[in-house]
Symmetry: C2
Subunit: 433 residues, 2 copies
Amino acid sequence: MSSKPAIGFCGLGAMGFGMATHLIKQGYTVTGFDVWAPTLEKFKAAGGTPSTSLSESAKDKQYYICMVATAQQAQTAIFGDDGIVKGLPKGATLLLTSTVPSAYAKSVEKELKDIGRDDIFFIDAPVSGGAIRAADGTLSIMAGASSEAISKGKFLLDELTAPSKLFIVEGGVGGGSNLKMVHQVLAAIQILAVSEAFGFAARLGLNGKDVREAVIAGKAWSWMFENRSVRTLSEDYFPGASAVTIILKDTGIITSTARLHNFPTPLCSIAEQVYLAGLDKGFGPQDDAGLVRLWTNTPVSSIESTLSDSEKQSKLDLVTDLLAAIHLVSAVESITFAKHVGLPLPQLYELAVEAAGGSAMFKEFGAKIIPVLEGEDSGEGNVLEEYLQGLKKAVEEAQSMKCPLFLGSGTLNLLLQAGKSEDLASLLKLYTV
Amino acid sequence: MSSKPAIGFCGLGAMGFGMATHLIKQGYTVTGFDVWAPTLEKFKAAGGTPSTSLSESAKDKQYYICMVATAQQAQTAIFGDDGIVKGLPKGATLLLTSTVPSAYAKSVEKELKDIGRDDIFFIDAPVSGGAIRAADGTLSIMAGASSEAISKGKFLLDELTAPSKLFIVEGGVGGGSNLKMVHQVLAAIQILAVSEAFGFAARLGLNGKDVREAVIAGKAWSWMFENRSVRTLSEDYFPGASAVTIILKDTGIITSTARLHNFPTPLCSIAEQVYLAGLDKGFGPQDDAGLVRLWTNTPVSSIESTLSDSEKQSKLDLVTDLLAAIHLVSAVESITFAKHVGLPLPQLYELAVEAAGGSAMFKEFGAKIIPVLEGEDSGEGNVLEEYLQGLKKAVEEAQSMKCPLFLGSGTLNLLLQAGKSEDLASLLKLYTV
């Protein structure tokens, strides 16, 4: 019999199932709840203890992990008539690992107090990394809580994360969700950028394989591009690995929180509208890489390029220039929002540079943006001009082909709004008035 | 026999045919060229002299009007092997009434000089008002030229325009096209706003007739909404009266000229991408009012509202708040661009307030924006807050319904970028760095 504590778990989806079964493999007894019966059977086969009642799944558990899909589901799971808090013993530790608005995470803390259950140690701990890393216990986790709660839950956070991938955010509950949110600013923009770039490239007559090679070799590289493009090239969208609805949900958290804060997120908002347009086309449950079909119905890997080598190169340059500029401004949008919600910027940098939000431009410009926002650098000096010029050519070419570039044109307008100096300080000011 | 001079005319499309036949009715002898043979027959039946050669149509004509669709067509018509200048006698007056980039109009003047034909008095004179007003001789015309050329051509401009609808722009050739362009900033944004508002309203469960009534009664009124909504309600899109390709062409002139000037046009750029998305759906040759089908396939006049009166009113308020905010920022985008290209702002105001770009918000805020841009008013004072709050509610509701609001969310981000003071000065600065 295990000497490790018993864990309660609810939300056995792709991520949750991986996390819960990883804990089982590490020797924990895990009681799992899910509304989907076949999942419970699978969970039992994997060595878990299935439960058909939330309160029962929490009974006598000093540790509980809630990994449902949305804040709305979390609210029912935690506080519903048969909810988790009904079962949790005094002094238990509750981890909410779903991606939710920071304001929601704070409301959980408040409601626990309001109903006289502030004996519960609550940790706001959204995760990142995908189903494979969930099952390996090598997720990234962004955790915010009281120091007492963190002390209690630290061993569990350690079990679920890779070394150096646990980011404990100062400031208590809400900080974890905020850090995840500003990371997702990068994801929200860069996921759509993959399809916009492939769609543009297809209309330029470029084969998708050539595009992938050119993008991942240099300044246009992003983690999302490298990851998603595999599925773009094989049209692996049904369902693929990450549905449009997932990034749309995260994008909605960003833009709704931004509205609450009176903070502009122009590129995320553009991405959100295009995701919604994809939803209208029925792409919601399909992989987000399939959004390229908003531009072309021809599989991008089957495009036969008739271009000369030099023509091909100059067209590939348009695509990489498009992406580099989008990634640059996405870095600005993410880091300025992080500053606005009071997050430590180096922590975001450390997290994102090696995570799903990473890009060559984030790496290079993140390191330049942070000192400006922290008052250690003036941000003067024309560092944006080359990206502006490259992007202009891409947008001009797209216009002549009647190819929509939602993010590309939005990014161009932001660079133009920054004005003649084309320095970082001016671009940052668009977000920090 | 007429004592009025003989006129040459090319481009007998909907607008050109009306203009040319109006001149015939006024007693002019008009020789008309068009590439489309049936049109020439119709022109003959209307009393015109058809010609199948451009240079022939210009032979011995002291006055010539070129009303083709694009700058590319104009270039061939004017300077081609069988072009107009081959036929025009010494000292003739040539009016280019097509909507073209200002840079193109200037290039015509230069090319005339380069080929030794600066004896020709060239007038850059784009028109506005639609086919009915063209045939009535009550168009608006925006004319730029040397004072000698204006003197020569004035009687013709007067024949084609309504009293007080001839706008002679200072600064020579290019000014007419620039004035038309900044007017079309309003048109480009407000045409899409019609469909975005109806699409949003449809998803709110509102009947299109109720929407039209609420919009045209108050602050959300625009000339475009009043005009287009007639066709939206009757689904009169095939071909309707004004194709998507027409406003897309004008939008392209705006954004490409803006790029040349390093000027941001964020809302026009958003509109352009959505027009391109409409093109991809095959809507190009159909009426622009049909873009509402990007949001709903149900005819908006057939939606049966099950809402209570107060629910209906609060949803109608969301729609009018959406439009008012978009129209407000479209006024800013138009007027700041006018300033950037050196146009006299009161002239734009006088033109647009009673033309197709007019809106209740343009009327109110145009009068506030111009003194700020002319340094006569500080632009301080929180005048934007109520529009920001109204728009936020609309965007929030749209988000909860998963309804894309391309212009609405773009407008919201610009208002948020303007920052806490929510004064005009801050909003204008986004365009005038």
